[in-house]
Symmetry: C2
Subunit: 184 residues, 2 copies
């Protein structure tokens, strides 16, 4: 039940239409809770139904049939209650680790290449996060109000750092001394 809360958070930061939300997701909340426009529209409908958000009366006619949503007090309360909830971390589900495990049984041809590819992807993501950190959280501005947002970004950075580190080690190990890459 995280998507509705992700949407409430985004709408509290700034009332938006479905498409605007989708775009904003892609470069902030979507980093740790991605969503498609279809899903977002469906969820907006449910949130409106539940009385958590409402459509803002349109200022002027816009492209398409644009609807701007804003959060109602009930929605804010719902979100605050959710923040304080105890919820266990969701179980890890990682296909790459699973494939390495399978490779231990049926052989690993093609796997090293895939590790290189993933390493490149994670490096790129790490770069992106570091860019955002430089832009949004420069060292001189340690505003207290951004503490939590900075911590979240730090989470992303540390996570990608873990992946690049682990993948680098794995590649070294597989291609390194005495490696038998294609053993069955």
């Amino acid at each position: 039940m995280s998507l509705p809360h992700a949407i409430l958070t985004a709408l509290l930061e700034k009332p938006s239409s479905g498409l605007e939300l989708t775009r904003r997701f892609d470069r902030s909340i979507g980093y740790f809770w991605p969503s498609t426009h279809q899903q977002i529209y469906r969820e907006l409908g449910k949130l409106e139904q539940a009385g958590h958000i409402r459509v803002l009366p349109a200022a002027q006619p816009a492209r398409g049939q644009k609807k701007e949503y804003e959060v109602l007090p009930a929605g804010r309360e719902e979100l605050a209650a959710w923040v304080a909830l105890a919820e266990d971390p969701r179980p890890v589900r990682d296909p790459l680790l699973l494939r390495m495990r399978a490779a231990a049984v049926v052989g690993a041809p093609g796997l090293a290449e895939e590790l290189h590819r993933h390493l490149a992807l994670h490096r790129r993501q790490l770069e992106e996060y570091l860019e955002i950190e430089k832009r949004d959280f420069p060292p001189e501005r340690t505003a207290d109000e951004d503490r939590l947002r900075r911590l979240v970004l730090r989470g992303g950075i540390d996570l990608e750092t873990f992946w690049t580190g682990w993948l680098t080690g794995a590649i070294d190990d597989l291609e390194g001394p005495g490696a038998a890459p294609d053993r069955v």
Copy 2:
């Protein structure tokens, strides 16, 4: 499409019944691809249908109506093909990071407690992994054939190390000097 491959891997390591698979998942493959017995039975049915596995003729009548499955050549081929496939890492979806982001907007009462709770859970998981490493991969036995399995375990260890590290830092930051924990 990872669960069937997880099952094929487990069955290649050792032919098993549905319940045995479920139990074995809980202490190996399930660490990075958890599954319930219901899901496993359903998938076993599909895999049999597809000709990837078959029921072993029963040696002697057992409890319940036990069925032991083994992997057929077609199943092994399917698994080997999957190992070599290019598949992007699945997007991160983490409710805790999301909740921190929400807390930045509606206030953070109760959040620090939750961070402590998660830290304890991740520490426990890390301990468990380190136990397994000590048991299954003692330093003297660097057998080449366990290389991949050891790397997978390393992945789990490094991942939990990331979480404990990040959570520790986040708690320090939130409860530390000049903290304003319940600000709205």
